[in-house]
């Protein structure tokens, strides 16, 4: 997966027609271990719940031998939640990888252009004012986020968009929306405000197969696009000049990649609320595990999936009372990321 110059590292070259993919052995091993870890955690998640089920019951529910409540609990309640954690987590991991690679900044975040606050405003209006359904919530979050991003872009546009102006306008608009959000939460009925805040923390509560299928389909398309663009991404990481020398149209590719990263995050946010920090942490962990200098997509996706699943397991079964998964990712992810960056910076100093 890496096309960098290697010095004595084992590389596997897959040739098929005219495409040659060089895969580092270390990456392959890491990915295989990650897949095993994910499978193990998924089995654990399927086995655990307040309704006690033995392994035999879970297996027979999955194979369709059992019907009724036990089958429903395993197949309709636990399984879609596990699937959602995996799919959304992978999407977040890739989204972060794409962003960090394109912007060459370990803290890059679509929040800069006001997307997060805007989608929260959209969701709050649907939950608190319209009292809408899940699909209206998805629509509201998407429209809110996209409309905000557009507004920021347009307000920052004055004979072209300049980075600094974009950031300032993004901060200003985000601040206004954050105030509006605080006020909406403040004035709402307590129960609804808490439901809205739960969404705002990022939660996989009550996720159904229909929701997983829809989110999964969008994410699958986007992941495919991401996989196709991993080559120009690698070039970009070497620097704009090097990329241009390789025949890459730097600004067009960068814009395309950023849209892709935002779209992945937007899909997850719309489906489950903003689950924080996975997109920031997963690529960093991936880089460490594969010991590659750049950001690689497959490990980021797998680590994202594993993190999301494990965090949801902790949130549901280990926390004293069930919590939204996003709270666990903030505490663990934020703590880990900060620690990581600090130790790294210390080494450099």
């Amino acid at each position: 997966m890496s096309t960098r110059v290697d010095f004595g590292r084992r590389v596997m070259v897959l040739r098929r027609r005219n495409v040659a993919v060089r895969v580092e052995w270390r990456s392959v091993v890491v990915c295989a271990v990650l897949v095993l870890a994910i499978a193990g955690t998924a089995v654990l998640a399927l086995m655990t719940g307040s309704f006690q089920l033995g392994p035999g019951q879970v297996i027979s529910a999955l194979t369709g031998e059992t019907t009724g409540l036990v089958r429903d609990i395993v197949v309709e309640w636990r399984l879609p939640r596990v699937a959602a954690a995996l799919v959304f987590g992978a999407a977040l991991g890739v989204s972060g990888a794409v962003f960090q690679s394109t912007l060459r900044n370990p803290l890059a975040d679509p929040g800069v252009i006001g997307f997060s606050q805007g989608s929260y405003t959209g969701a709050l209006i649907v939950i608190l004012v319209v009292n809408g359904t899940y699909w209206q919530l998805v629509g509201g979050a998407l429209i809110g986020g996209v409309a905000t991003a557009l507004a920021v872009y347009l307000l920052a546009y004055r004979r072209g968009v300049q980075g600094f102006r974009l950031i300032v306008v993004g901060i200003a608009i985000s601040a206004m929306l954050a105030s509006a959000n605080t006020w909406l939460i403040l004035k709402a009925d307590l129960d609804q405000a808490m439901a809205a805040a739960t969404w705002g923390a990022g939660s996989l509560n009550g996720v159904s197969w229909g929701q997983v299928a829809f989110g999964g389909a969008c994410i699958a398309v986007l992941l495919l696009l991401a996989a196709l663009s991993s080559r120009p991404m690698r070039q970009l990481e070497l620097g704009d000049d090097a990329a241009a020398a390789h025949g890459i149209r730097v600004s067009a590719v960068r814009l395309g990649l950023m849209v892709l990263g935002v779209a992945l995050m937007a899909t997850v946010t719309a489906a489950s609320g903003p689950i924080a920090f996975i997109s920031l942490v997963a690529p960093q962990i991936g880089r460490r595990l594969t010991r590659s200098a750049g950001i690689t997509l497959a490990p980021a996706a797998l680590i994202g999936a594993l993190l999301c699943l494990a965090a949801d397991y902790l949130a549901q079964h280990v926390a004293p009372t069930p919590l939204p998964v996003g709270i666990v990712t903030v505490i663990l992810g934020g703590g880990y990321l900060g620690w990581l960056l600090i130790t790294e910076a210390r080494r450099r100093l």
Partner: protein, 348 residues
Amino acid sequence: MTALTLRRPVDPGAVTVSGSRRRLIGLLLALVLLLVLLVASVLIGSTSISPAVVWKALFDPTADIDQFAIRDFRLPRTVAGLVVGIALGVAGALIQALTRNPLADPGILGLNAGASFAVSVAIALLGIRDIQSYMWFAFGGTLIVTLMVLALGSTRRGQSPVMMVLAGLCVGSVLGGAGSALELTNPDAFDAMRSWNAGSVVSRPLELIWPILPFFAIGLVLAFLVSGPLNAMALGDEVAAAQGVQLVRTRILAIIALTLLSGGATAIAGPISFIGLMVPHVARWIVGPHQRWIFAYSVLLAPSLLLVSDILGRVVMRPGELPVGIVTAFVGAPVLIALVRQKKASGL
């Protein structure tokens, strides 16, 4: 806020006499504006009370019911707005100088998250329910976070601004998550916190503001003392060191000042986030990279923005009111956008 944009060092250049005079005139105008707003804040309110009664309430007090409204409600909120605004403005100027990031706000070090977390603990775990007691928890939370950030962000070679920000991010997100966990599992705490989070200067009696003032005073004096060294440090640590600036001492003093000002402001008013970012930023546009001038302008412009917002909050929904923390961004953000569109180049 998210961006770690490091400001390119800008040569402060020689302060010309005419530039100095222009800045001074601007400063006087800002002072007049602030004075006008202070008077307006006492005159304007949910009920209409004649200026004569206001005068009597302040200088010839009797037990008249309208006079209570002036002395007990409008005067304290005006004083609170003034001191909180000054503290937020100077705290913002300090953090922007310290991190060399013109878009930093005091929240970037996780201080607000610390204050919020401490208040959540007070409400959810200790069952405390009055704003007055939240105050000391908020202040204490800020102090503890500062210590944590200093401990995490220090290396053998002192404190690097980037490390401090990263440590702030780390501490802030962990405490923020823990606070949300407390609130989302305790409806009573959630209910109280959503009100505190809005940020307000109402219902803070003067006798509760007085104890915070010494901290503000120390913070302001420290901020003034470090303004010169910070100016030199804007050109880079090496340049500053060559000019004889003691980097470690300057940073530590600046952080102490920041904690006292930001912590005190949050203790009084709850988290009001936009002022500390916007005012020093705009001040820098007006006066250029001269810390003392930025401090001076922030001292006058920040409370002005807060008071304007508070007055508007009383007027727009009469007889109801909007908390000042909500209004601030709506007043300030359009101004900031208009200014950034006006500016030809970023300059910073």
